[in-house]
């Protein structure tokens, strides 16, 4: 070894005093590219805590955790993703799959932390310097892991519909149902929103696995009216579907119908086998609608002896007498009712409480009473001439149609009202060959009817005459009815409520009609409850006041359905029936 070899390493020391060759702290100046998959950011307002990011993560890097100031509500679990950067590989699948598009990435890639635990964080909630960065990997239309469009449901064309009461929605084939079921993310956000808390993701999963038996069992756990609800449910579950945020929600209602379309009434009896341990307690149920019969079903499973009293000749309540058969064919409703009856639930048709039997008798003879009656008493039109002949209550008309009558309504009819009953009356009148006008005091967008009913009515050439308030009905010289109305203007509400309709002074119009239908609302007819009981129970705005299990202030009397809740739809009545069954069971167990 020469002296040079020994000294040469020290030669580099001369560099110590000079300017370094390397660039000082180059990291600060090297930004990630605009599309770089850097650290995550999450828009907490947009995120609904569906957990799809957690599901897709191949590295199990994501947990769903509660976050301060984020509330759980019907469309939001209140949970938010926490990412473990010890496991994340920045593949960005979580970003690509996010149904709301809330989860994205910045182009930041430098993060220094003293403790390893610090690298677990909740994007959006744990404030980071890159939260406001608009650079980095974002969801794009090029990569769509979720199909935003639902599988189209085949329906009869409007022209064909106008002359028939045949069911207009055709239902999914197996192939289509499987494709639609394939879109479900199984997040389960919808379950809370469903009044009956049906286990939607589980029955959709059963469809996907083609296990119809299991699917039927899941349906009956929370809803013995699934063939009906699969057709006419208000499907508020679909409003909160994770997919609804950036596309069309899963067709939950049609998938439920698909399940029930696959089984005959006999097959249902084979699938849902029950070992009923009969006890000797008796329960009377007033009203054989979806609410009364749901309570009957669940109480029967618990072993009670059930007597249902129904004033009409057939069961189903408003499902049969309020909803036209082109939306809910009677055989489908019978399918639901027959199964419940087959369990030994005794349904007494044509027995009206307060007339054929007194409330007092029921009270004395039964251990508990559940009443779940429909809203059948029409609200007054509050205008001169509403008592004239050919001014008909919409609900009465629909009931006649169900009974097989085809009343002569003439060529020109008008329906006053904007709810589902108004739509059903209008569309039924179209099917009887009439020209139909709908008169409503607010705008079309204010109508309480389901949007699809409004759209379908428009397709069937129902004429909408919004912002019109009926003022007078009189007999015209022609013998027809002359309806006069006042045109309305919409005025902003100073308190921020929806705009109010105000009559435009002197702006009156009138037209002759053969029949005028009133459909501006219905109330419950409570006359069947004798006074001494009615006094002890509480009613507010015509609705029974109860505890959460439907118990009124008279301990052995329970109520539910349209006469109790404010949504007044089938699935809420079913949910009420289910929870009343629990309430009644607990009440009778304790006694």
């Amino acid at each position: 070894m020469s002296l040079k070899d020994v000294l040469s390493p020290f030669k580099v020391w001369e560099r110590a005093a000079r300017k370094p060759w390397t660039v000082k702290n180059p990291i600060d100046e090297r930004k990630g590219s605009a599309n770089y998959r850097g650290f995550h950011k999450n828009d907490l307002e947009k995120c609904i805590g569906c957990g799809t990011c957690e599901d897709i993560c191949q590295n199990l890097a994501i947990d769903l955790v509660p976050v301060e100031n984020v509330e759980t509500n019907m469309g939001d679990s209140g949970l938010r993703p926490m990412i473990d950067y010890g496991r994340c590989c920045w593949c960005a699948l979580c970003v690509d799959v996010c149904p709301t598009g809330s989860l994205n990435m910045s182009n930041e890639y430098n993060w220094i932390e003293e403790e390893a635990e610090g690298f677990r964080f909740i994007p959006g909630a744990d404030k980071k310097s890159w939260d406001d960065s608009d650079k980095g990997y974002h969801q794009s239309d090029d990569i769509q892991l979720i199909d935003p469009a639902r599988i189209v449901m085949e329906e009869l064309e409007a022209e064909e519909r106008k002359s028939t009461f045949v069911e207009m929605v055709k239902g999914y084939s197996k192939e289509k149902a499987l494709l639609e079921a394939e879109r479900c993310l199984e997040c389960g956000i919808c379950v809370a929103r469903c009044p009956a808390h049906m286990d939607i993701p589980e029955y959709i999963k059963a469809i996907r696995e083609d296990d119809i038996e299991l699917a039927v069992k899941i349906l009956y756990e929370t809803n013995p009216f699934s063939a009906s609800c699969g057709r006419i449910c208000t499907h508020s579950c679909e409003e909160v579907c994770a997919l609804a945020h950036n596309g069309e929600p899963i067709a939950i209602r049609w998938l439920k119908r698909y399940i029930m379309d696959q089984v005959t009434p006999d097959q249902i009896k084979e699938i849902i086998t029950n070992n009923i341990q009969v006890n000797n307690k008796k329960i009377a149920i007033i009203g054989a609608g979806p609410g009364g019969l749901s309570a009957a079903y669940y109480l029967r499973l618990l072993g009670y002896e059930i007597s249902v009293y129904e004033s009409k000749t057939k069961g189903g309540g408003m499902l049969r007498y309020g909803i036209p058969e082109y939306r809910l064919p009677y055989d489908q409703l019978d399918k639901d009712i027959d199964y419940i009856a087959s369990l030994g639930v005794q349904i007494n048709y044509g027995k009206e409480i307060g007339k054929d039997l007194s409330f007092d008798e029921l009270y004395g003879n039964f251990d508990a009473i559940y009443f779940s009656i429909g809203l059948e008493k029409p609200t007054s039109l509050r205008c001169v001439g509403e008592d004239l002949d050919s001014v008909v209550a919409g609900v009465d008309f629909l009931r006649d149609i169900t009974d097989g009558k085809r009343p002569d309504i003439g060529n020109d009819v008008v329906v006053i009202g904007g709810g589902n009953v108004a739509m059903d009356v209008a569309r039924t009148s179209i099917r009887l060959g009439a020209n139909v006008t709908v008169l409503y005091r607010r705008r079309i967008e204010d109508m309480p009817a389901d949007l699809e009913e409004i759209t379908e009515a428009q397709e069937e050439n129902v004429i909408f005459n919004p912002q019109s308030l009926q003022t007078k009905i009189e007999k015209a010289k022609s013998g027809r009815l002359l309806l006069q109305w006042n045109n309305m203007k919409m005025v902003e509400d100073p308190e921020g409520d929806r705009p109010k309709p105000i009559p435009i002074e002197g702006d009156l119009e009138s037209k002759e009609f053969d029949t005028i239908f009133s459909a501006i609302g219905q109330k419950a007819d409570l006359s069947f409850i004798s006074e001494k009981y009615e006094e002890k129970m509480k009613f507010k705005w015509g609705k029974a006041v109860t505890n959460q299990f439907g118990q009124t202030d008279i301990p052995k009397v329970f109520a539910g359905g349209d006469v109790k809740n404010w949504t007044a739809d089938a699935v809420s009545a079913i949910a009420d029936g289910h929870s009343a069954a629990k309430g009644i069971d607990e009440f009778l167990q304790k006694r």
């Binding site: 569906c50 947990d63 769903l64 955790v65 379950v191 299991l214 669940y298």
Partner: protein, 185 residues
């Protein structure tokens, strides 16, 4: 470029031809003609440089695609030459005699995709996966999640929530299904 591709078509079969940009072309050729084509375009058509080589797993078609990415400094054009090989018989002739540095790419592809290049130098040596004892991880039928679950442990103290169950507790805890129709899982 069009002239060159036409000339090439006179000599060999070109199964697919894509012009992505003015300076980026892709062609697909027959596996048997790979060496012929690569030598020809390197020696006669100025694509002197091999930028990289990569494989793609077409699991559904049971094929692997191998792509040789070439660059011409004089034309200032990139050209991807791809060939398809059978996934069940994943062997390809080594091209390291044309571009010596291909040995390294081929070694990586052997490790990540399990495609063999017999006679390629050091092709059986570990590249980055030391003591790997599983299916080549870039094959699409490799279950990343399963491997991750079996191989690594969770950081202690982690806790997650199921949205459906969490919402039940928060919003409708009183709700009970009466009675149960399914067996508990």
């Amino acid at each position: 470029m069009e002239d060159f591709l036409n000339r090439l078509k006179q000599k060999v079969e070109i199964r697919e031809q894509i012009k992505q940009r003015d300076d980026l072309y892709f062609i697909t050729i027959k596996k048997e003609q790979t060496e012929l084509v690569l030598r020809y375009i390197k020696d006669n058509e100025k694509f002197k440089h091999l930028s990289f080589m990569q494989a793609v797993d077409y699991l559904d078609d049971s094929k692997f695609m191998l792509i040789y990415m070439l660059y011409s400094f004089s034309r200032k054009v990139s050209l991807g030459v791809s060939v398809f090989i059978d996934r069940k018989e994943a062997i390809m002739t080594s091209m390291h005699n044309i571009w010596p540095h291909l040995w390294q790419y081929q070694r990586e592809i052997k490790e990540m995709y399990g495609i063999d290049f017999p006679s390629s130098p050091r092709v059986n040596e570990d590249f980055i996966l030391e003591s790997w004892d599983n299916m080549p991880p870039m094959r699409r039928d490799f279950d990343t999640l399963k491997y991750s679950e079996e191989t690594y442990y969770q950081r202690p103290g982690r806790k997650t929530n199921d949205p459906k169950e969490y919402m039940r507790k928060k919003l409708y805890n009183d709700f009970v299904k009466t009675p149960k129709l399914r067996d508990d899982k």
